[in-house]
Subunit: 369 residues, 4 copies
């Protein structure tokens, strides 16, 4: 965990052992089954580990609500579901049940759903009143499940972490709701591999005045994420998040391609290959390539724990609104235009130093470029 390294380990974060896990699942199947499948297909961990955590998985499975009704598609006609208002109330009910059952001080909501088509951009999405009209009119074509999760969490005062590319958490109406309930939130789209490398490497090209002509990124994925992203409607947000980081860092827009292909045999192992075509002195063209072979869950899981610990701390410190100091964890950080990973990390360091010095958070915590 990042939060276990100095100086972050000196923060007064909740220990991992102090966390209770529950959830909402729209698909059939249990955590235990998923973990077994992951081991079998992706060789990520061994049987000893699985056996050691088996009782925990069973206990968490018992706290996961299976509710397949939260699975509509804003791009397709929806029939036979309860109205949005009722669905949101159902979610708030799930949250309250879990809070009571575990006698929790703080209840965090983490959105970990698959990439999905999204709505947004209408006049109704620009403020909270508009969102409430959408809910009142039961417009499921304008309000996705991810919007319900965010709406329910923020209205119930639960700090919200959007680890998915689904962009509803950035709707202005939800910022208004978070402000009204004084709730912290953060997102979008966990930065675990290729985009992390882009935001690490692109500053070097800028700082050395090497001009990037083209940055072509290929992502091969074999897990459920890969399957979902194989549908062009689902991958629109993700590709946009992956593409937009370069222009912000470089100060111009190189040719930037992002390809996501589904390769089932890779299982949970994702392989990213990027070709960077650039020129140096006297316009001589040169190239860099990299191949990143990582295990998706293993890269993402610790970031979710880090975010949970840091959001719980922020909530305890009375912070609210978008958590700018957590930008380094996301491809498309809410409220932050700085895309350079190192500057984002420096913002987390600065926040940590203020915390350790007993100071309130600066506003804003991330320097604008």
């Amino acid at each position: 965990l990042v939060t276990e390294r100095p100086p972050f380990s000196a923060l007064d974060c909740c220990p991992v052992s102090g966390l209770s896990f529950g959830g909402l699942e729209v698909r059939a199947g249990s955590l235990t089954e998923q973990a077994r499948r992951l081991r079998r297909e992706s060789r990520t961990f061994d049987r000893e580990t699985l056996e050691a955590v088996a009782p925990d998985l069973i206990a968490i499975d018992d706290c996961i609500v299976q509710d397949p009704e939260f699975d509509w598609d804003v791009g397709a006609p929806v029939h036979g579901l309860p109205p949005l208002r009722a669905l949101i109330e159902r979610l708030v009910g799930y949250l309250n049940d879990f809070r009571v059952r575990h006698d929790l001080e703080t209840l965090l909501v983490v959105n970990l759903t698959s990439a999905a088509p999204t709505s947004g951009g209408s006049d109704w999405h620009t403020d909270l009143a508009g969102l409430e009209s959408i809910v009142a009119d039961d417009r499921k074509d304008l309000f996705s499940p991810s919007a319900c999760y965010a709406y329910a969490a923020l209205s119930a005062g639960c700090p919200l972490i959007n680890f998915t590319p689904n962009p509803e958490t950035s709707w202005p109406g939800l910022a208004e709701l978070a402000a009204r309930t004084a709730t912290p939130y953060v997102g979008n789209d966990g930065k675990t591999g290729e985009t992390l490398l882009k935001t690490v490497l692109a500053p070097m090209f800028a700082h050395r005045n090497l001009r990037v002509l083209s940055w072509e990124g290929i992502n091969l994925l074999g897990n459920n994420d890969g399957l979902t992203l194989d549908d062009p409607r689902n991958r629109r947000s993700k590709i946009s998040n992956k593409e937009q980081v370069l222009a912000g860092i470089l100060g111009y827009e190189p040719h930037a391609g992002v390809t996501i292909n589904y390769v089932p045999s890779l299982g949970d192992w994702k392989t990213a290959w990027d070709l960077i075509h650039f020129t140096g002195f006297m316009d001589v063209p040169m190239t860099m390539q990299f191949t990143w072979q990582g295990c998706d869950s293993v890269l993402a899981a610790p970031l979710v724990l880090d975010l949970a610990r840091l959001m719980e701390l922020a909530a305890r410190r009375g912070e609210s609104g978008p958590m700018l100091h957590l930008a380094c964890f996301f491809k498309s950080p809410l409220g932050v235009t700085e895309m350079d990973f190192h500057r984002q990390y420096d913002a987390l360091l600065a926040y940590t130093e203020r915390c350790l010095a007993g100071k309130p958070p600066a506003d804003p915590t991330v320097p604008r470029p």
Copy 2:
């Protein structure tokens, strides 16, 4: 040039057109011949460019002293050369001649020699008095040509840039000499490719708490540098510079291999391939590879111009001693333990802001980790 990008472009640097070029060459052959060979073997630039600069190359060739006596090898017996004292005086003479001939305000010395075996580490090397004894006793086994260049430059008050891996510029005795003549100096070993990437990427592994098990770097070079480095005695300093950057950034020492192979057909194109073997959450092993295909001269030349402009500025501002703010240009920056490229770059930014605000340089200019 880095110095042509904001905010550095706002510094009061000497324009490139204000520079005069001369030099000392131990090998036969002219710049014009070298440039033709580079074009023919490496396709770096085209004939039009070569024709356009031909008169300039001829003019510079006229200012290059051919002196093959500065080519001894500290690891081998040396016979028949004038004593060190005379050789150093000869160098100072060359410098004065060039200064007078071009009516220069400032004369900078840039060491661009090949990697070479080095001495150092004796009791005589620890202070200036010791170095003077070595010179007085004509101990060429303890005083390499690079030591002569540095000694002559600093004693003549010429700002010194050591772009080579030869480590003499870091001898304490020379620091004493620079202090006595109030001369700025900087080095060692220009950071143009694989090591640049190491110092850019390694912080990411640290910041994400991904543990690097092994970082294996392969460098294939086809130019004279490659030929020189094919001799293990010559590459010792360079490999040491390339290896030591990781421990400083990561806080532990991974297995770090550096291989430099001579592949003549590559000409001036160097290819670096690195394999980074690391573990994430639950100790799952993952890998990253990169291939960097760059033209050595094209990557190095602009950095030399940047350094010349920034050193001339520093000299004009009355700065002296090791120029800590220029660490980002070097593999093994003198006086600086910070190896993270981004922090080194931030030090250059901070220096620039102080300059633009009319402030004297901070001391030290680079934060210690």
Copy 3:
């Protein structure tokens, strides 16, 4: 050239100096301009070379007919063009003019057009009578420019080389026409890079009983081919040619993806990156990656010359129909199911040995797997 290596160099092929070049061009611009642009954008050859061949390029330009009417799209409505019959006669006229002008013994037609949408598959395409009906009815939606070129060449008895992925040359009706005029023909789709490697490497996996799970191929192209192939309608044939080679060699169908992306800055340099995911003993998954960085024209041009020389020889020897012994030059060799490059090459060797021994070609010349 392949034909300049033993044993092929012993064949009685026409020397390259015995060839005269002309052509049909639908785009504006001259060969000279294209060659200049290639030099400028792709650094493939230097100015000396360009100057040396300038008179030849001008002479060839003089033999190239500019005729933009041969540029319709079978997938879009076509208006205002002369009927197919007239267009084909026009082509035959061009061929006769060129033959007379240069007093040629043999006139070869090489199709080097861009990838294009294609028709085919209707009842009319199954025999020559059907094709003649299509022409008579002026069905430009069923008869592409590439079909016209092939029809004109074969009806005029000109040996035909289809270097493009456009599959019209494989229409049964054209085989019938070639048989009637006793004309040799060959195609489809020159094998210059990624697919060449596939047909070289896949046999190794088969022979070692290593099971290929996935073979994901990424092709980045910056030239006009890349631009054309960026349109999904144009790349259908090419991707199909690239994909189908594996199943034939391996004996089963692995997951095989082919991506073609347009990256303009690469100019004529194409970069292919392939990831091969396979299992060995005890089903342990392993990977191979390769990156192929080649210059498209430089890889293709010598094959065109080789094919011209070998087709002229075949015509002189009285051979006709599909030239099975030339399969190794093509991604989708006409009449040949053997996809293993080495077996295809052995077929060329066997043919050459028969020629050198004064024997007629075997029938068929390529062993069926």
Copy 4:
């Protein structure tokens, strides 16, 4: 297994279940411990597999003689060991014991030792009489443990497979011994990864008349092989085997570098990266790179089983001397100059067809280039 694919599966090979395994081990430790360590460090197989074969491993361990005296180094002084004659007799005794204990029809010897320094090249090594003098004079500086294994196997009439790079099996004196005892033998140096790819890819460059300028191969190994090969004296034979394949295929000697580095964290996973620098038409330089990430044991083990089955068959058929048809399994095939993998494979096919047709083996079975 290769021998489980058609047409080889039709050969009358001994089933794997018909094999009994024993051995000689100079190091401490059991197979069971090694297998556990392999699982722990390299994640090659899972615990279920290990548990399933545990009884077999114990049974085989019981048939492995631990004899640390067979571990001298021909490059260093040897003291305190019994004379060579006694050591060889001891080996023959081990072989006879194992044969009797398992009531074997055929006893095969497979040399699977680590790479080691070697002697050879003296006048005594040129014939069997010379070898016998060496043994009689107890010259352990001229007779390595691998020489003992080969001598003992061949004198006892046991078919011999040399899977190691140690070249003693190619000594002319041992060929004489094999002829005297009418024993088949084969080697050297199993071809499992980088060299396999070289012998697959190099023919393509030759067949396309693409001139290879440089072929630089980097091998990173983390297992005991890697540790052993880290010593330059041990890797001499292996590097020579890896280098010599190119000239035979290409017909000229490109710059060919082979680097073998020990990277412990890789465990049994070896990573080979090769850069191939070549020119095409008009001498335009281009590059190919590949990365091969394979598990060493998993690649080697099935080849050993294949060789055992094919050697047992050969012995049963009364074949003797070097088994030329098995060249495709080796980096440096005994008696064969053909290095093209595909031609070597064709030789195995031709042999198989003769077997299936009931014919005796051709002599020689591999066509000379």
